[in-house]
Amino acid sequence: MMIGLQHYLILSAVLFSVGLYGVLAKRNAVIILMCVELMLNAVNITLVAFSRYVVPAMLTGQVFAIFVMVVAAAEVAVGLAIIFAIYRGLEDIDVSKIDLLKW
């Protein structure tokens, strides 16, 4: 069987769902950030696969994937800085204990 667009799309759906489960089910803030990166990678696979199979000559999906990578790099830098700041204040990065803003 030839590898087609749907193989890549289903693979990225699986990766995205694993990342979604991790974001919802984990308490460690660093693990949650890692799972967000996993989801962004899954979306990037989708974009590149569409670019390859639907508009092979235009590369628009790859350009979009580059911008997703830029935003992911910015997100991980700011996210880890926030985790450091919280850790310095609370000595813990368990997200179930970070509830100062909870009403």
Partner: protein
């Protein structure tokens, strides 16, 4: 044939590594598993004939982001505590499975318009043309540069000692 074999190999290792990220108890091993998953995604880009993106994936994700994540794990004493699940574990599992099911059903039942053209390769010059060339994405590139600068300044301000 080589494409088929490499796709299945990369896909199986990538999904296994992704499951390792959420299932391993040791946070450091989960981070290493995530790095393996990033490497496999770079391999998938090569099978999609996106050579420049594969190089960027290795430079940015395997090189930079993984170092940041491992640094964060080392700074926050989390290796001893492991990666506990929250009380939403079972609802999260159900939500993820339902989401996956909806996605896969939609993907299978949508008639995609597959083009039979050969992909452009190598992609580096074409990507540079569409990013910086006439009628391209130059404004978005400038905005991305401003975003990276503000993220750097924000990270420094947040992480610095008071």
């Amino acid at each position: 044939m080589a494409l088929t074999v490499s796709f299945w190999l990369l896909a199986v290792v990538a999904v296994t590594a992704a499951l390792g990220v959420v299932l391993l108890r040791n946070v450091f091993r989960a981070a290493l598993s995530l790095i393996l998953c990033f490497l496999m995604v770079a391999g998938l880009y090569i099978t999609l004939s996106a050579d420049f993106l594969a190089a960027v994936q290795i430079l940015v994700y395997v090189g930079a982001i993984s170092v940041l994540i491992i640094l964060a794990i080392m700074m926050t004493r989390e290796v001893q505590r492991g990666s506990p699940n929250s009380r939403f574990q079972i609802p999260a599992f159900i939500v993820a499975i339902l989401f996956l099911e909806v996605l896969v059903l939609t993907l299978i039942n949508t008639p995609w318009q597959i083009s039979s053209m050969a992909p452009a390769a190598p992609t580096t010059a074409a990507l540079a043309n569409s990013l910086f060339g006439e009628g391209g994405y130059l404004l978005s590139v400038e905005i991305a540069a401003v975003l990276l600068l503000s993220a750097t300044i924000g990270a420094i301000v947040l992480a610095r000692e008071k």
